[in-house]
Symmetry: C2
Subunit: 246 residues, 2 copies
DNA sequence: ACCTGAACACCGTTCAAGT
DNA sequence: ACCTGAACACCGTTCAAGT
């Protein structure tokens, strides 16, 4: 736990992103910096992915780059800015692995896209807390959002509904992933402990919890994810028909 | 941003909770401590609610209690333990304000319970990041889970499905609330900035995003929440019928 | 001009001294 | 026995000195 928000990230004033890809001093002729923008972010993402956000501190990052902490501040305003770029680079992975959705209807496309997002998050659980603490507005985030929204518009959702659908699904995936990261730090060990904990509860006090204890902790989290996504898509189907009738 | 997880909370081994309400040295006759367990948690919750988790540090908390930091460690093992109790105390508010659901069917009960939870989170947005970073297993968390699960079982959901439904809705509410807290730090100001940011995007690059920009940032977040909850409940209705037929 | 070691400020935690 | 000021370890950030 231990959420530290000393330097509050202001998602509403995304001061680090321009609407055009920012030209960083990556190889600007004379006086080229010894470490590049890209190299810093790549290294930071490596550290986060392998050891979690708490393992990323400016000293470790600088050391890994054979540099000093102060040098990092020549490239980035703050650690938060670095983390924002790390998140966007992670979202870039989704773009790279994007599947062909052209022969799926919107139901299939929603399911596949959400599931791919979820699986990518499962593969990089350490990214999840970072994603919940900011509204991603980097270039890759924008591209992903655009793809989602245009798919929904093409499927015939009215604009106001497309926005709601996008929000609903995004929140569902993120909410699911959040608990994944909370429970997933040492997941094999953890779920066993959790299951034991629920089993040991007094059945007189918590009859339903005890009854469902095996399901609560042993069911495949992936199956639970699919279950909820199907619920949402089914509900969407209904709403879309209502909207078309109106 | 700036997620600090130095002292990782282990949700699977909830070492601080017993299955019976723990008897703390609140007024144990002789040698009573100058500050009580309850007083510490109440003060910590006040600080978190009014100024956010980042404002809660051991020095501030000790000062507010006219004590020293070391004294806090006579009552709690760590700051994380304090935060876990803060979360459970927050969940206690939900129990206090619980509405009578007896004349609602499960659809209404789901909707009302999820919405009340969501509203309580909106009223205490600073609690949200704490909730996503742990699986609550305190006494109030257990009582709430029990109420949910027994309601679902009573409604005729088979046990395995009740667990999935509980998980789905919990994740949805939390995912929604997460973005609320990410975007909600200075929400009135923030949503204006976000909307400006989306408006200024190049329509050639992000046509759908620009088209939906007003919806994306201006739509009432409460309406979006209701929309998604209705989707889920509608989907549940379908699944429950399927299960009953099988 | 660019880089960076060293310092500063801050915070969780512990310890030894005080009552 | 209980409390707590002071110290320790750690980390984000800055600054002044070095090249």
């Amino acid at each position: 736990m231990n959420i530290d928000t000393r330097n509050t990230f202001q998602p509403g004033s995304p001061q680090w992103w321009s609407t055009q890809p920012r030209e960083r001093n990556s190889s600007s002729g004379r006086g080229r910096p010894s470490i590049s923008f890209e190299k810093i972010i790549a290294t930071a993402l490596e550290i986060v992915n392998s050891a979690g956000p708490q393992a990323l501190n400016m000293r470790v990052l600088a050391d890994r780059l054979n540099s000093g902490t102060a040098t990092l501040y020549r490239h980035f305003e703050s650690k938060d800015e670095i983390l924002a770029y790390v998140v966007d680079r992670f979202l870039g992975l989704l773009l790279e692995h994007k599947r062909d959705l052209s022969n799926l209807d919107w139901r299939g496309a929603c399911f596949v896209t959400a599931t791919d997002f979820y699986h990518q998050l499962s593969a990089c659980p350490h990214i999840i807390p970072l994603l919940s603490s900011q509204i991603p507005v980097g270039p890759n985030a924008l591209t992903l959002r655009e793809a989602w929204l245009s798919m929904l518009l093409d499927a015939g959702f009215p604009p106001s509904m497309a926005a709601s659908v996008y929000t609903t699904i995004a929140h569902y995936v993120l909410g699911f992933a959040s608990q994944l990261s909370a429970g997933g730090r040492i997941s094999q060990d953890t779920s066993h402990h959790l299951s034991q904990f629920f089993d040991r509860l007094d059945p007189a006090l918590y009859p339903s919890t005890v009854k469902i204890a095996p399901q609560l902790s042993n069911i495949s989290i992936d199956d639970e994810f699919s279950f909820g996504m199907k619920l949402i898509i089914h509900g969407l189907d209904y709403e879309l028909n209502q909207a078309k009738l109106a």
